[in-house]
């Protein structure tokens, strides 16, 4: 069996880190209000941002194992033929 890199590899970690550093910078640079009259709007806005990222990770997770299995099969077949 060929060992393919898993999801938690360094590359994935770097992508995650870069992403959330940029969100952090964006948030810090934006103006900040402390009034707590209506938390609903802020929740909706962050939800769409997080959902976009989480959706991407989720899709990769769903298809990652299928891709891995497929590539393993192909490479194993090649080995058997050799």
């Amino acid at each position: 069996m060929v060992n393919l890199p898993r999801l938690g590899t360094n590359k994935m970690k770097i992508i995650k880190a870069n992403f959330f550093l940029s969100i952090l910078i964006w948030l810090i640079l934006s103006k900040n209000s402390l009034a707590y009259l209506d938390p609903g709007t802020g929740s909706l806005i962050i939800q769409s941002t997080i959902a976009a990222v989480a959706g991407a990770f989720y899709t990769i997770k769903l298809y990652w194992f299928q891709i891995r299995k497929f590539i393993s099969k192909v490479l194993n077949k090649k080995r058997n033929i050799d």
Partner: protein
């Protein structure tokens, strides 16, 4: 014909829950039935029932309605014998309730529906496991729409679970003060700095809290909020699910965690105490028992084996956690562990002091047996509560009482008195019996062999 709307069920104009002649029903009003019909016809209800995720229900004729003018459909759900609240649950109970909420929501999306809200009060513990009780909480899902329950989920579930796991177990008490969940800015402030390095904590708590503060004084223009794809919602739910699944609570060594290894029983007397408890319980054949100071449920289990449902209450979250882990998945006995401080038990809170009931008003069918083993000396000595007042309170909690008296000669009590002035001149078995008989009739009294302790079985003169 006695109809009582449930004090906690008033925020949804489409449906509400009430009691009629002691049975709980749900009324769905005219004009608000399409979501319920989708729930039933889409296959979602059947799928949730087969997974045992939701309470089942029967549809009833319209004459069962609370308000016939507005009623369209009446449901009679599976009855929950004893309601417990999220602020009474141990870490794993709250975690299981959170994961169940997410699983119900994820399954709903597969059938074109979604949860309108994700309140922790939508979950109850029933027959040893968490179950979703709010049949009126489903609405049709249209791709592009947001999940309305997201903020509530973060406050009711994610915040307290993170605070317990990463800061301190005592913070679960925040749910008593913040009955709509712990505010995110408070959670963000209390979590340690290294929580900023976790993607999910950063996103769902820190960034979420900052975003809330930033936009709190701006109205939202719906056009300015981007549409969220179905994969996005599923990704969001999945992210919350992994974050919570991975949470562990490192169990601290509390004074009670190791209790049963450190008591002063010879193994003979422990065996005998178990037998006495069992035979006293068998004399009563209770349907509902409340075991106070139950620790990890050792004696609750004995009573539960007679067929009684047992509410197993203790002040120590470690003991309750241990009890819950043991009783999870045990289909033979029906035990619900909860955290209770008997010197400050759950009070009536929420809107109009009645949304969430106090401990003593909780049971609809009545408490048959209250157990108080190895407990009274703590209340009487460590807390200075006179026997009279203890008897007065216990006599209103349940019809019978199984109570253990531990005299001053016992080593545990000696330890308690060693660090304080002995002002308890009236602490004796004779005085105990005298005071308790003002509220109870004595049914049985047995001294435990090879120990100084005595078990009593009594019947309340004042329990309704």
């Amino acid at each position: 014909m006695d109809i009582k709307p449930l004090a906690a069920s008033f925020r949804d104009e489409g449906n509400f829950v009430y009691k009629k002649d002691g049975i709980v029903y749900r009324q769905i009003n005219k004009g608000f039935t399409s979501d319920y019909l989708s729930l039933m016809e889409s296959g979602l209800y059947d799928s949730l029932i087969s997974d045992k995720y939701i309470v089942n229900h029967d549809e009833m004729p319209i004459n069962y309605a609370a308000d016939k003018r507005s009623a369209d459909i009446i449901l009679k759900p599976e009855q929950i014998e004893f309601i417990t609240y999220p602020y009474e649950w141990c870490f794993s109970q709250l975690k299981d309730a959170a994961l169940l909420t997410l699983e119900v929501c994820m399954q709903s999306i597969e059938y074109g529906m979604i949860l309108k809200d994700s309140s922790a009060y939508n979950i109850q513990f029933h027959k040893g496991r968490a179950i979703f009780i709010d049949t009126g909480s489903f609405s049709k899902y249209e791709e592009g729409g947001k999940w309305e329950g997201y903020q509530q989920f973060c406050k009711h579930f994610l915040s307290p679970l993170l605070l317990i796991s990463k800061v301190n177990i005592q913070l679960s008490n925040l749910l008593k003060v913040y009955i709509d969940g712990v505010p995110l800015d408070l959670t963000s402030r209390l979590l340690p700095v290294k929580s900023w390095l976790s993607w999910s904590i950063f996103a769902h708590i820190h960034a979420h809290s900052i975003s809330q503060n930033m936009y709190s004084d701006k109205g939202s223009k719906s056009s300015s909020i981007k549409k969220i794809s179905k994969v996005g919602i599923l990704g969001l739910l999945n992210s919350l699910h992994s974050a919570i699944s991975n949470l562990q609570w490192k169990i601290p060594k509390t004074e009670w965690g190791d209790y049963y290894n450190n008591t002063n029983y010879s193994s003979n007397s422990s065996f005998e105490k178990k037998n006495i408890v069992l035979s006293m319980a068998q004399k009563i054949t209770p349907s509902l028992t409340v075991d106070l100071g139950a620790n990890d449920g050792l004696y609750s289990r004995i009573v539960a084996e007679t067929g009684s449902m047992v509410i197993s209450a203790d002040i120590d979250p470690v003991a309750v956690e241990s009890n819950y882990i043991k009783s999870k998945g045990d289909t033979k006995t029906n035990i619900i562990p909860i955290i209770q401080d008997l010197t400050n038990p759950s009070a009536s809170i929420g809107w109009a002091h009645s949304e969430r009931e106090s401990l003593k008003s909780r049971s609809s069918t009545g408490v048959d047996l209250v157990m108080s083993l190895a407990l009274v000396h703590h209340i009487a000595i460590s807390n200075n509560v006179p026997f009279y007042k203890i008897a007065q309170y216990f006599s209103k909690l349940g019809e019978h009482l199984l109570i253990e008296f531990i005299p001053k000669s016992d080593s545990q009590v000696k330890k308690m008195l060693s660090s304080r002035k002995d002002i308890f001149t009236e602490y004796s078995i004779e005085y105990f019996e005298l005071e308790f008989q003002k509220f109870y009739e004595l049914m049985d009294k047995v001294k435990i062999l090879n120990s100084e302790r005595t078990l009593f079985l009594m019947k309340s003169k004042v329990y309704l």
